[in-house]
């Protein structure tokens, strides 16, 4: 084979991998195909809708995480915030008997507040994001445990459950929500100054600051958004069931980070896509669901996820041309 043709082949391979979200899409397609073969019920409409719904909750948190990561931040506390918001909703509606709509608004404000605490720790006290959100990860979950003593709160009022159990044109409300969220978040990231400055700040804080952007205010806002979206997830999730659990959201932060990485978001800031995060979330859902359908032991699930993260990163390195580069 002549040098010219191998070079051309490498060029085609490189162009194929240049599509931004390819690193996430390929493993996803592989898994979907593999799962469908081992159990045709996998791609039944009912199961697909089920999987999309399960993805939705993680995706809402994932959007917040995407923005935070793009700004070179990290929010380890989102899972705990989901749990805390859920318990808040329970207390507001069950213990204090407030109407559902009022409880949701109050809970959202609290969500913004818990996010703002992160923002304050990071921008005002200058605590590194990893440490600050690790502290709130423990604190918020601790508050949840302290208040509930491990006991769930219920029953939730019917008016509230309509949100989680209702459908529009046969599709759950939360799925409609994430379609809107996908479009909105992508627009913000690519077409607004907010998104642009977030990416710029993630790439180089000093250069962005010199260009006149208030990077402190921007960083603060990213954590408020992350907290708010965690609360939104909690609203949708809690409204599906008759009670709220103190363990809700456990581990969600790591799943969200994994979904972002699989979706191509850079852990070092400056690059990422909302669609990529969605694919990453779908991926995690498909692995869990597919393995169940294929009767593979659920114990292996985490190992599979770990393997996939590595594959996604390798594909990303190929995409950037870094893997086959000679030093």
């Amino acid at each position: 084979m002549s040098v010219a043709t191998t070079a051309k082949q490498k060029g085609v391979i490189r162009r194929f991998f240049a599509i931004r979200e390819i690193g996430a899409l390929i493993p996803l397609v592989i898994i979907v195909v593999a799962a469908s073969f081992s159990n045709p019920a996998f791609i039944s409409l009912a199961n697909v809708l089920n999987m999309i719904r399960a993805t939705s909750y993680l995706f809402i948190v994932g959007v917040g995480m995407t923005f935070v990561l793009c700004g070179r931040g990290l929010d380890l506390s989102v899972g705990s915030q989901v749990g805390l918001s859920g318990i808040m909703l329970g207390i507001l509606m069950v213990t204090w008997q407030l109407p559902a709509w009022m409880s949701v608004i109050i809970a959202l404000l609290v969500g913004a507040l818990t996010g703002a605490v992160n923002g304050f720790l990071i921008t005002n006290l200058r605590i590194p994001p990893f440490i600050a959100t690790l502290a709130t990860f423990y604190s918020y979950r601790g508050i949840v445990m302290g208040i509930t003593k491990g006991v769930s709160i219920g029953p939730m009022p019917q008016a509230f459950k309509v949100l989680g159990q209702g459908t529009f044109l046969g599709i759950a409300y939360v799925i409609w929500f994430i379609i809107v969220l996908l479009l909105l978040a992508t627009f913000v990231l690519r077409k607004t100054k907010y998104g642009r400055y977030t990416l710029a700040m993630g790439g180089n804080v000093e250069s962005t600051r010199l260009a006149g952007v208030n990077t402190n205010r921007l960083t603060f806002s990213l954590y408020v958004v992350s907290g708010l979206l965690a609360c939104v997830t909690s609203v949708f999730f809690s409204s599906r069931f008759s009670s709220v659990q103190p363990s809700t959201g456990n581990g969600m932060e790591l799943q969200a980070i994994a979904a972002c990485i699989i979706g191509g978001v850079s852990l070092f800031g400056g690059s990422g896509s909302i669609l990529g995060t969605l694919i990453g979330c779908m991926f995690l859902t498909v692995v869990e669901n597919g393995m169940i359908m294929a009767h593979i032991s659920g114990y292996w699930q985490q190992a599979v996820v770990g393997l996939i993260i590595i594959i996604a990163i390798v594909i990303d390195l190929i995409r950037k041309g870094d893997l086959f580069k000679k030093e």
Binding site: T192, R196, A200, G203, N204, S207, G270, S271
Partner: protein
Amino acid sequence: MHGTGRLTDARSVFEGRNHVVAETDIILEGRNITKMYGGVHALRDVTFRLPRNEVVALLGDNGAGKSTLVKILSGAISPTEGQILVEGRQVELASTRHAKELGIETVYQDLALVDCLSIEKNIYLGKEIVKRYLGLEVLQNRAMKKGALKFLSDVGITIVDPDRTVEKLSGGQRHAVAISKGAFWTEKILILDEPTAALGVKETGRILNMILELKKKGLSIIFITHNMEHAFLVADRFFVLRVGEKVGERRKEETNHEEIVKMITGAIFMENTRA
């Protein structure tokens, strides 16, 4: 009085002796600038003039005070004593933002680029083109890309792949983008801090060419350099500092390499130049 750099304005001779035609039009001036840090003089009574549409090379050894002078002229720090005049009017530069509003753009050695963003995103950072739809500002990415690439090609820089992020560009192209970040936004004054530092021969040539093209566009340019060759290739004037004081100023036609080196190293002592 006949100016040596310009033909005498015939009309002025007619209209009266009070109309003195300046030898050249000074667009930026730092007059009697002194900067002290504690008891140490970083600059002592330095008067620097940038004539309109000229390229002035600011030369001097390490510690001569070049960076300090540039920081003062760009609004980053204020002088202990002295005035700054822009187009003949005295101004108080409160900040770099204020300086930019007056048309003074500065490009520092670290380039201030965001590596993971593309060229036009870097050039327009902080000053994006937007369209308002019902109060919402939407970025006009295509217009920005077009504007940025047109500017670069106007000054002689070709970019093969405009979608590439800045980190993937060659050293010379990165410098070109960094210089564009400043030059794009002013029609008046551009200050460059070591624009050819660490560049290879070919890339240096492109940057020097870019500086000449920017001069053709009407900009007045100050550039700090250590490299005599580069200075002689593009500058109209040389301004030499030594340990915080002005050694002297020469027009290119009236001097040579040797004299400038002697001024930098101190072999030629401070001249008694009048401010």
